[in-house]
Symmetry: C2
Subunit: 408 residues, 2 copies
Amino acid sequence: MPHISQRAEKMPESPIRKLVPFAEGARKRGTHVYYLNIGQPDIETPPGFYEAIRNADLKVLSYSHSAGNESLRSTIAQYYTRLGLPIDTSQVLVTTGASEALLFAFMSCLNPGDEIILPEPFYANYIGFALTAGIVIVPIPTRIEEDFDLPPMETFESLITPRTKAIMICNPGNPTGVLYPLESLEKLRDIVLKHDLYLFADEVYREFVYEGQKHYSVLGFEELNDHAIVVDSISKRFSACGARIGCVVTRNKTVMGSILKYAQARLSPPTMGQIGAEAVYSLPQSFYDGVIREYDARRTFMLKALREMDGVYCPNVGGAFYAMVQLPVDDAEKFCRWMLEHFSYKGATVMMAPGNGFYNDPEDGKQQVRIAYVLKQEDLAAAMECLAEGLKAYPGRLVEATAAAKNI
Amino acid sequence: MPHISQRAEKMPESPIRKLVPFAEGARKRGTHVYYLNIGQPDIETPPGFYEAIRNADLKVLSYSHSAGNESLRSTIAQYYTRLGLPIDTSQVLVTTGASEALLFAFMSCLNPGDEIILPEPFYANYIGFALTAGIVIVPIPTRIEEDFDLPPMETFESLITPRTKAIMICNPGNPTGVLYPLESLEKLRDIVLKHDLYLFADEVYREFVYEGQKHYSVLGFEELNDHAIVVDSISKRFSACGARIGCVVTRNKTVMGSILKYAQARLSPPTMGQIGAEAVYSLPQSFYDGVIREYDARRTFMLKALREMDGVYCPNVGGAFYAMVQLPVDDAEKFCRWMLEHFSYKGATVMMAPGNGFYNDPEDGKQQVRIAYVLKQEDLAAAMECLAEGLKAYPGRLVEATAAAKNI
């Protein structure tokens, strides 16, 4: 029997999905599971998405253009332009989710062995795409007690080697909920220009910002036209994760030309998703306002609930719909699994994503979990109550952590 | 400005799509274009595909399971089992087209630098996936005058090195239309077992076989349970290219476990396509019979028309819906471009895929084109007439090739 590849052996299981078998076990026992592990919103997909697909008079479901339907690309370009980020159709290429956008960007810009600096903790699936592309993630640690803000410029520069080709950020941040202020982005701009690096930005949560703050896109810096590459997606913005429609946006023509070759090799993005996406990209501002109001209410509720739990530390979260939370437990992965296998409260339990999966070294972040506040408040309230009770009952609870959390 | 990657520079443009700008130019001039360059059938997608999507009562368009909806995987497993290839649900993983299936299989089974032996000419996009995975394609030449049948076992063995990890076939073949007889597959089985290799088989055209012949799947060999990996797709079978639904099928549990990790990293395949696919996989045999009858009529018509053209050589095609055709021209790519830029007949022209893009060395196959007989007979007739006239008018026509073709 032939061996599988070494890279496949290195490929981590998704921390977001690895506990799924235990959740299925809980459900089979009749326990209701609150899914806070995955960024799967319960917000309804706008009806216009479905209507557009229902009304599409297709006879043959054919391939689209490899870069995506021109009408969708133009609609997306207009969306950016409305945001004050002038983008034209040729600067947008439609992908099968932001996942594919990121893979194409990595493949086009980086050689195997090239290094990319990435604030840590980071979205776990980046590891998979880095392994696929054969590139090396160089984590730059950010700290929960500093609300995961970027470290000083010198820390970045100390990590730059001749193999460094790019810096990547997720803004607003998954899994941290961090929203980078303008000054942080200006710092990044300066480093990127000084060392002639690419700046990849995952901005799929662009609209999800709270407390009157403003999101700054890397596309807002004209100086970065040749450096900035944005990956984007309709999954969260329009609660349409299953559409698998994302895009890559850059003003760098050479990079876009390369990405198109990768896009041609896989023929085209999904046609149905493109039709739906075109409809929802034209929704008015009031749509976004309603969604953000809902998430903000959930966020406020969750932060209050978590901060009332003994020994739990939750930083400020300015964007997206996640929080990295420190728990008073020996090992957060064991705790998450225990919640699914051995605990229930009022007939239910909570699924969370173990935090160490969001660190390059799985020994880090072992007392953290990522919580996605994607459930309506009634469910979120039940989930928080259940988590509080679970923490009290968990045999691996660390008593001294309670005091430590107060001092963070 | 940072450089793009060396691998992106090596990435070839798709021979199937690289002439698209010239086709767009022709259309802008008012010339009708017959698209024989791409395997995009004009057969209508079964209405059940659209109905299933219209009737799906979705509120939130959520991610599916990373391996695909269990109900679809089970339906696909039953489809194989009906074909006499016993497969269970756990042996099927739904992908975003066969493209993604192939990428996951390469990543899971092969390390960078590993070699894969591939009969040439081969589907051009394999080059892109091989470059993405960092693996080396070792072409094993097959000859147009032998109808692209496999060479003797000794030729295979002479190419095996310590880095050889796999053999890959496309059966029925794209771009050649070759259908491998049982003896060829038995030869491959013996080599694969003797050298402990993987056998990848692209069988997306499985049903498209003519003249009463039978398709043999690599899944039919129990001895190959740990070696055989099939990539498949609904694109051609159900004329649903835009759905972007394919799958990878293997009885090797370790490989499937690895593939699942890659699948988790990209979250899930498209939900809408999965819903449609589940509906059409349940279609009765009469659906396939009707489609194959139509393609067979087109095939017969096209072969006759091509063989009546002076200097054109077309081998026998036993399956799929392509033919690699030798033309009496100095350079087939120049000819294809000339047809789009400078020629029209009765207000129309023909787009074909230059043959050299299907060879590892673009210096090979320079007088060949790939023709996809995916148009209804009326259009195919007009396209053949147009091609015949184009060949007569082309300034780079080779007169001596006419005699040569007769001697092949």
